[in-house]
Amino acid sequence: MKFEGRDVISIRDFSKEEILHILDVAEEMIPIAKGEKKSSLLNGYIMASLFFEPSTRTRLSFEAAMKRLGGGVIGFAQPGTTSMQKGETLADTIRTAESYCDVIVMRHPQEGSARMAAQFASVPVINGGDGAGHHPTQCLLDLFTIRREKGNIEGNTVALLGDLKYGRTVHSLAYALALFGVDMIFISPKELQMPKEVVEECREMGANIEVKNRIEDLGNVDVLYVTRIQRERFPDPGEYKKVAGSYRIDMDILKKAKEDMIIMHPLPRVDEISPEVDETKNAVYFKQTFNGVPVRMALLALVLGVVK
């Protein structure tokens, strides 16, 4: 298992053992992430944070992760302030950035941009989301949250709910959960169903998969992973309202679920979880947001070779 110098582009680039190692390192980072313990682990290292697209959680948690470990951060959150505005290619922007830093974290609206950036950079590139492509650090923090809340990743039944068609991050998560042999229920409107090839691949990997169009019985679900139903996917706003309304998680639905079922959401949410659910012990989405920090600390320390 070698992490030093490695790019983090897709969760598929990592084996189950490697994923577990990242989560173990993240576990050790928790007191530092909370600010309870000071660290100078990445003292003298610089992370370039190149955000060509808006982000709240990914960018802030990466920057917090680097700073909590004593490292420095350079970068931008609006491409309008860079030479890209003058027509510079992404390849040249990357070649410039890499000469100022030790690791690059990047979000870009085009699919495959992170893979290409890694080709041009000699320092490790961590993908913070490439269009509708991958978001591996989200996937890792989701797995980390499940393990922390349920004690284990294996042995749970996970329901993925919402827009399962367009969200490639949900596809990556389904793949990663299948890697751990987790049984899954895919619940979505017909128009937003999980692509067939993802369902087939998860089954081939040995996971039991159920596909549903409605929230019926959540009685055997341990983890309910809710995603946003995107308004822009529906040409008719009336149709959107109807569909979105039928996938709203509220107290009535919770009453029929297991007492210790956890509810996760990558955020931002719109209407899919009723605010009254926030106060229940089932809601872990804000803890999930925090978990982004230790997981990203672990990745930074590993790819920089400071932690083995």
Partner: protein, 151 residues
């Protein structure tokens, strides 16, 4: 070469067993129209051979590089290449699909980085050969109609 209905050639390359209707695409992929201005090119389409209907392309006085030729496997997976010297077939082989297809197929995803102004060539990874399935190295989308995406 007796099975061929068209005139034998003295020296050059005969591409046989091309999927019917694809002879012109084969020429296009090989860039033969531009690069081979001094060669005589013969095309036969919908020829009935022993193994059914096929297209044939003959390029006189040129021996096509096997690497170049493998590109045509994308649209004519059963094609065979015959290198002819002095009316004799001196080499005969089937096309084969390389593991990576670089700079030949365009990604159909308009939002793929390979369709931007970046200094990169398109690149596809071969997932399976029969049936042929290829996936963009960058955005990982599978190509659906490969023939129509050839650059």
């Amino acid at each position: 070469m007796k099975e061929l209905k068209v005139q034998p050639i003295k020296n050059g390359t005969v591409i046989d067993h091309i999927t019917p209707g694809n002879a012109l695409k084969v020429l296009k992929i090989l860039g033969i129209t531009e690069k081979y201005a001094d060669s005589v090119i013969s095309i036969a389409m919908n020829v009935v051979g022993k193994r059914g209907v096929k297209d044939i392309v003959k390029v006189e006085n040129r021996e096509i590089d096997p690497k170049e030729v493998n590109k045509i496997a994308l649209i004519a997976p059963n094609a065979t290449i015959n290198i002819i010297r002095n009316y004799e077939v001196v080499e005969k082989y089937k096309v084969s699909i390389p593991d990576e297809i670089v700079g030949i197929v365009k990604c159909a995803n308009p939002n793929c980085i390979s369709n931007g102004k970046e200094p990169i060539e398109t690149k596809f990874i071969v997932k399976s050969r029969n049936p042929l399935r290829i996936k963009c190295y960058y955005c990982e989308r599978e190509a659906e109609d490969i023939a129509s995406q050839i650059i």
